[in-house]
């Protein structure tokens, strides 16, 4: 009888220790998860900021301004344009 009690006591002590360890492990992992989630959130936020930045840099108005002023580009006029592969004569004047 006494032996059985001792065995049960040992089992209880062991399972309590196991419980404590696993709870500790769980909290540690949970903590790590929190850290990762926080950085995921940060990356998302940075993504949003970068999207705004990209969108702001790529506004057509700005692109046109850079093309005209910094790169000296301009739209070709009619004299510098040749239309290829287009049967204008056949289509023009119909209707």
């Amino acid at each position: 009888m006494a032996r059985l009690n001792l065995l049960l006591l040992a089992l209880i002590v062991f399972s309590s220790l196991a419980l404590i360890t696993s709870q500790h492990q769980a909290r540690k992992l949970y903590n790590e998860l929190q850290v990762e989630l926080a950085s995921a959130k940060r990356f998302e936020e940075e993504m949003g900021r970068l999207q705004i930045e990209q969108s702001t840099w790529s506004t057509p108005t700005r692109i046109e301004k850079v093309a005209r002023e910094r790169l000296g580009m301009r739209l070709p006029d009619a004299g510098h344009t040749r239309v290829l592969g287009n049967d204008v004569s056949a289509r023009g004047g119909s209707q």
């Binding site: 909290r27 940060r42 936020e45 949003g48 705004i52 506004t59 108005t61 344009t81 239309v83």
Partner: protein, 582 residues
């Protein structure tokens, strides 16, 4: 020593057994004490458990709100027009905060404020919520949280950014501080764009660090992205041309709309004056209005093609039927209608080309009022275009039973009826297609859209030809021509309404047209409100804007040419220009 020995002797002299009554008293006292504890325990556990549980949880458990991000608004190609990013708000609770001197110094430095200024702010707002700084970057917010000052709270919220600023201002609208739509598409599509915030139940330790999840929370529902029908590139060029035209003509305001002729999608919708929605603290009410949808004007001659279409459909005229417009005026019930020039006999086609009021009025008077009303109503006049835009109006089309002949005659050339610009542009889909009215949409649609048949393909083609003649050198709007493309359209010049009558020197100049005529892709409508730069005719004020927008837009969309590049023929300078009457 001897004293101890004496005492020991005393103990030994006590009798071995205590008196019975003393045992009983002691036992009862102990039982009473334990009983008291048991009752107390029962009371706390059984009757006060809810209250105590809450108290305990308030120390260890915490509910965290997980904000949901609002969806982006993009153009038809997925380019972002509106994005929400998190911002952090720093505020003090009504209890006030108790920072140590060191914490106070650090806080002031992080907030980029002098200590004196911060102190003054705090003193000024005792016993209420005080926002110290509404917008703080995440890195700074993290460091402020790390200071752990009690009574100081950091709250995360979202702020909307509009990269295109004033170019898309009235179209997109803006949000309030809670990132909920207040105006424009932000308001119209709020339910779609807004997410639902989530919640987490967590267990925290004594330093308020989260150590575990306590029970199920609710995951946030992120907002959904919204793709508009707008083409960002076209939107920019339309805005640029409109702004330039309003300024060059010293006009009060202006609007321009580009529709896809095949689907009715709004590819660009611009207003001037505009505002910058990123600085929405200063939005003047009159700039926030999307005039192209919420304001009406009398369209003037841009309505004549509908009169002609009605007469063609009723079989009353053919494109080459002759109408006598001499002597250039016509009196109905005492009221007189004028033409700018005396043209004499004109064909129906020439009535449109030269924009003769008398000719249009004569055609209208051939029609039963009900027939003409049906034509206008089925073209979408008098009812809102149902774009879903908040505050859109339908204009005024009075019931035909109340029409007097003079009213029917003036309506033939667009007076006594009011429209908004999107409605007018949409109505022209019946001429750009083979007679179908397409639904106007601000949201991207997938491909071809079925329309409502309004007129026959033959009538649509006939009117298209007349509208092409109107931009020829013999028409009212040669300045609407575009190199390399055949275009068609109609000018409009109307006196502005002032009180009960018309203002003698204030006009609304407009032009509505489409291109390329061989297979129409775009409908472009331009309206300039109250030009004061010396010119006020639709042909000289609005038509050149149409030409520049159409030219650039067709190029940007890679639409093949349907005319030689040297097709633009402007009238010789010595020839008097053809002017419509107003």
């Amino acid at each position: 020593m001897s004293a101890a020995a004496g005492m020991g002797g005393g103990v030994r002299s006590v009798p071995a057994k205590l008196a019975g009554w003393r045992m009983t008293v002691l036992a009862l006292a102990l039982i009473a004490l334990f009983g008291g504890l048991a009752v107390r325990a029962l009371y706390l556990q059984g009757f006060q458990t809810g209250f105590l549980q809450r108290k305990g949880n308030s120390f260890s458990k915490k509910e965290l709100v997980i904000p949901a991000q609002r969806g982006r608004i993009t153009d038809r190609h997925g380019e972002a027009l509106a994005i929400s990013t998190p911002q952090f708000q720093i505020f003090v609770t009504p209890r006030g905060m108790q920072p140590s001197p060191a914490q106070f110094t650090q806080l002031a430095r992080l907030l980029d404020l002098s200590e004196a200024a911060l102190k003054k702010m705090l003193d000024g707002a005792e016993g209420e919520f005080l926002t110290i700084k509404p917008r703080v970057l995440p890195e700074i917010a993290d460091r402020i949280v790390a200071l752990r000052i009690s009574g100081l709270e950091v709250q995360r919220h979202y702020r909307r950014h509009y990269p295109d600023a004033d170019v898309t201002s009235q179209l997109l609208g803006f949000n309030n501080v809670d990132d909920q739509g207040q105006e424009g598409m932000e308001l119209a599509q709020n339910a779609w764009l807004a997410g639902k915030q989530g919640m987490r139940r967590v267990i925290v330790d004594n330093k308020r660090n989260i150590i575990d999840e306590a029970g199920a929370g609710r995951p946030p529902q992120e907002g959904r992205d919204l793709a508009l029908s707008i083409d960002r590139k076209l939107q920019h060029l339309v805005f640029r041309e409109l702004k330039a035209a309003v300024e060059a003509n010293k006009a009060k305001a202006g609007g321009a709309v580009v529709l896809d002729a095949r689907t009715g999608e709004v590819l660009a919708l611009a207003n001037w004056p505009a505002f910058d929605p990123n600085q929405r603290d200063v939005v003047p009410k009159d700039r926030a209005r999307n005039r192209t949808l919420t304001d009406v004007f009398e369209p003037g001659s841009t309505l004549k093609p509908f009169t002609v279409a009605a007469a063609l459909e009723a079989g009353l005229v053919r494109p080459d039927s002759m109408l006598q417009t001499a002597p250039g005026s016509m009196t109905i019930n005492g009221a007189t209608i004028h033409d700018a020039h005396v043209y004499g006999a004109l064909t129906v086609e020439q009535v449109i080309q030269k924009s003769s009021n008398v000719g249009a009025a004569k055609m209208a008077l051939m029609l039963p009022p009900e027939t003409m009303w049906q034509m206008l109503s089925r073209s979408g006049f008098g009812t809102p275009p149902r774009t879903g835009f908040p505050g859109e109006v339908g204009g005024r089309l009075r019931p035909w039973k109340t029409w007097r002949p003079i009213e029917q005659a003036t309506m033939a050339y667009g007076h006594g009826i009011s429209v908004n610009l999107v409605q007018l542009a949409r109505a022209y889909t019946i001429f750009a297609t083979d007679g179908e009215l397409k639904p106007a949409s601000l949201l991207k649609t997938g491909g071809e859209v079925a329309g409502q048949p309004v007129i026959s393909a033959a009538s649509a083609r006939a009117v298209r030809k007349m509208l092409e003649a109107a931009v020829s050198p013999g028409g009212t709007a040669p300045k609407a021509q575009v190199a390399g493309y055949r275009v068609a359209g109609k000018t409009g010049t109307a006196h502005k309404l002032a009180g009960k009558g018309y203002a003698p020197h204030n006009y609304v100049s407009s032009f509505v047209g489409f291109a390329p005529v061989s297979s129409p892709r775009l409908i472009v409508a331009v309206m300039i409100d109250d030009p004061a730069g010396g010119q006020h005719y639709g042909g000289t004020v609005a038509a050149p804007v149409f030409s520049r927008i159409t030219d650039a837009a067709l190029r940007a969309l890679n639409v093949p040419h349907d005319a030689p590049l040297d097709n633009v023929i402007l009238p010789a300078p010595e020839e008097p220009p053809v002017m419509e009457d107003v």
